[in-house]
């Protein structure tokens, strides 16, 4: 998938040309494109004089960065301890089976990316599912969550 290289340049231009800015730039890529594009990493390597392997390593190290394009909606199932005790793994299983993907993967039609997240810090609402980083579903269960996901096209 080709990305807008103008946008890539724009993001890089907003930062000081030092290694210290790398992580922040990669995070901006992630937000802008929903993933970290190869073009972006190559450009950074060229401009900053940092080996591409090092930047690629960061892309794989940090969970919030993805090297694959993600879907239109990200469905994050919290698997923190409180959520786990209250059945989050069943929620992950049932969504995964319904969408035919495993955590970390994206559906073929690019509609959903399923992710698990360590803790969103809303333990009173356990188990929690967060869609698109803004819609919080509390008390998620195998029954109600599929119904809620239907609203995302």
């Amino acid at each position: 998938m080709a990305v807008d290289t103008k946008k890539v340049d724009e993001i890089i231009a907003g930062y000081e040309k030092s290694e210290e800015s790398l992580l922040a730039i990669l995070q901006d890529f992630q937000r802008e494109f929903n993933y970290v594009p190869e073009e972006g990493m190559e450009k950074l390597s060229e401009l900053f004089g940092v080996p591409a392997s090092k930047i690629y390593a960061m892309g794989t190290f940090y969970k919030a960065l993805s090297l694959e394009p993600t879907g239109r909606h990200t469905c994050k199932v919290c698997t923190g301890t409180a959520c786990h005790l209250k059945g989050a793994s069943n929620v992950v299983d049932v969504i995964g089976r319904q969408l035919k993907i495993r955590p970390g993967e994206t559906t073929k039609d690019m509609r959903f990316t399923l992710q698990t997240v360590n803790c969103v810090g809303a333990c009173a609402l356990a188990p929690v599912v967060v869609v698109d980083d803004k819609d919080y579903y509390e008390g998620a269960s195998p029954q109600n969550i599929l119904k809620n996901l239907k609203n995302y096209k």
Partner: protein
């Protein structure tokens, strides 16, 4: 916003804010932290705003949107000042009725909190058992301020401690005061804060010392730092200002995890306001003292809470830990001396300096001050609780937490997250202190307190943490990379019915080796959940191994669901089953197809007749 260029201007502003504020006007307070918003607080805020405008009540009623107050279970909630009336789980109609009643100076009786034990309604927040048994030294500030408005923080005396010491105290005296308070790090290990500061202060002079606020709250099940960052960001900035003055640091960094978008928003806003007021930046209040703070966002790596990994992440690199020594205070960010404290530690600093070390020390037994815990899991009152050090575990779980949430009795409590351990119910009389928790095989940790009941399988818990740790192990040192992986496999074998007694032997051996040889804190503490469950719940392990049975009915490889004659054939489970594994005629006993069943338990949780049995 006026730029303040002297102490006099600061004092004048603070006095003006206090005298302009009329505390007698009723104020509607709506907590809207992440969990508040998720449970509908934003709708309440909109309703309240609209009603106040529609009915032209601007002069008679105030509205304050704040951070989290701690009683997350009851959100969205509403608190009324100055009366202190508390309304739990308010909906939009309820909000309108509360406003109606306020205008008539009345209380909406049927919306008040009901004490389940006595059946009585309780009007005032302070009288509710959940709050009554706490000492909310830090958290009580959250309800008094709008976190997006620095003037609110100034009005309740914010930045006063810093401004006073800037003029009246030598850095040396500030460090002495912090040492005297006996404050210890709230991030986990409990290192004396004053001593850490002294090290930085003594590190080579000259430009370029860093102080860092570690807000990479990664422990699953712990969220007290989030509530402080969201609800009272200026208290952390003030703490860091005091730390910088005392140690001679000129650069500050807040490292916040990316999973907390609201906290990041509030912090950025707070930093902007403090700079605009001249409380951050060059020549603060004309004193010649300069300090500024930048915010760095984490990117979802648990190990970055470890201080050497955190520093590398701040430098923009991959967050892998390094060998210590050299310690951060000798060689930290970009090789400069660096001091790292946790969010809650920083939030305690202004309190220490405001009240004085002597006064601060009066709170708490065994250790000084308070500790905030996030009380979650199978407990009635989920939320954030702040108690004096030395409070017995039992008091937190039963008096504040209200005991178990389900029918199964409480079995254990897990503290310290993936680095901590489980404390069995028989030991709930131990007081909360760094030493006593360590003695029990757990740690204070950052403050997660996860309650487990009879429906929790301890092997599943150990497996859960090991799965977490094997994913989060950075892979740099062999012992941790392979050790956590192998321990997970052993636990998985036991949970799936493939375990032998030899598994236990290897598990214990591996755990002790990993403790000794791992490079950083993540690996060294990784065996704790296994060791502590083995110590206190060995029978459960043996039950899995010898009888291939999971007593709690959790481990999927060892259980099956069947439907007993109690079944009325209502069909609720048929609809609930995500696998379409249940069949049966109406009003006839249903059957589960064991081949299709994924053992998710949806049928059991929906059945009203307790007809679904676990074997």
């Amino acid at each position: 916003m006026d730029y303040l260029s002297s102490r006099e201007e600061f004092t004048a502003l603070q006095e003006r804010l206090c005298s302009d504020y009329n505390a007698d006007i009723p104020t509607i307070i709506i907590p809207a932290g992440t969990c508040g918003q998720a449970s509908g607080a934003s709708d309440l805020v909109r309703t309240a705003q609209r009603e106040i405008i529609r009915r032209k009540l601007q002069d008679k009623l105030h509205l304050r949107v704040t951070g989290c107050h701690g009683f997350c279970q009851m959100e969205p909630s509403v608190l009324i000042e100055p009366a202190g009336t508390f309304y739990p789980r308010v909906d939009i109609t309820g909000m309108k009725r509360i406003i109606d009643a306020l205008v008539r100076q009345e209380v909406v009786e049927d919306l008040l909190f009901v004490d389940e034990e006595t059946g009585q309604r309780i009007a005032r927040q302070d009288d509710i058992p959940f709050y009554r048994h706490q000492s909310r030294l830090l958290l009580s500030q959250n309800e008094k301020i709008d976190p997006l408005d620095v003037y609110d923080y100034l009005r309740i005396g914010g930045y006063f401690a810093f401004v006073r010491l800037l003029a009246d105290m030598e850095p040396r005296q500030v460090i002495e005061e912090v040492k005297d308070s006996e404050l210890r790090g709230r991030g986990g290990a409990g290192f004396p804060t004053g001593m850490k500061w002294e090290f930085l202060s003594g590190a080579a002079d000259g430009k370029g010392k860093y102080i860092v606020c570690n807000a990479d709250e990664g422990d699953p099940g712990a969220y007290m730092d989030r509530s402080l960052l969201e609800g009272n960001p200026h208290s952390i900035i003030e703490g860091m200002l005091i730390g910088a003055y005392a140690t001679g640091a000129d650069q500050g960094v807040m490292y916040v995890r990316t999973e907390y978008p609201l906290a990041i928003k509030h912090l950025n806003n707070a930093l902007k306001q403090s700079r605009a007021l001249g409380l951050l930046g060059g020549n603060i209040l004309g004193s010649g003292f300069s300090f500024d703070i930048s915010l760095v966002k984490g990117a979802g790596a648990f190990v970055c809470g470890e201080e050497t990994a955190l520093m590398r992440s701040i430098e923009g690199r991959m967050g892998e830990p390094c060998q210590r020594p050299p310690f951060p205070v000798q060689k930290g960010i970009h090789g400069k001396p660096t001091l790292i404290n946790n969010v809650e530690t920083w939030a305690n600093i202004p309190v220490v300096l405001r009240d004085g070390a002597q006064e601060y020390r009066k709170t708490g037994r065994m250790n000084t001050g308070t500790k905030i815990f996030s009380l979650v899991g199978k407990i009635k009152n989920t939320g954030l609780v702040e108690v004096p050090m030395g409070t017995p575990v039992r008091e937190i779980i039963y008096d504040i937490g209200g005991g178990q949430s389900g029918k199964a009795g409480i079995k254990a409590v897990q503290t310290g997250g993936p680095s901590g351990g489980c404390i069995p119910a028989g030991m709930f009389d131990i007081p909360i202190s760094y030493e006593s928790l360590a003695q029990a095989g757990s740690i204070m940790g950052s403050g997660g307190m996860i309650v487990m009941d009879g429906n929790t399988c301890m092997i599943d818990v150990a497996k859960y943490f090991m799965n977490f740790l094997k994913d989060e192990s950075c892979g740099k040192c062999f012992a941790c990379r392979k050790g956590t992986q192998r321990m997970f496999e052993l636990l998985d074998d036991i949970a799936s019915g493939r375990g032998t007694l030899n598994h236990l032997k290897i598990l214990e051996e591996l755990a002790l080796i990993l403790k000794d040889v791992a490079m950083c804190g993540l690996g060294q503490t990784a065996p704790n959940p296994v060791l502590s469950t083995l110590k206190y719940f060995r029978e459960e392990y043996l039950e899995h191994i010898e009888h291939k049975r999971c007593p709690a009915g959790v481990c999927k490889g060892l259980i099956s669901f069947t439907i007993s004659e109690l079944c009325t054939g209502c069909g609720a489970c048929v609809k609930a089953c995500p696998e379409q594994a249940i069949t049966g005629e109406k009003k006839q006993r249903h059957v589960i197809d064991q081949d299709r069943c994924s053992r998710c338990g949806a049928c059991k949780s929906i059945c009203k007749f307790e007809a679904v049995e676990i074997h």
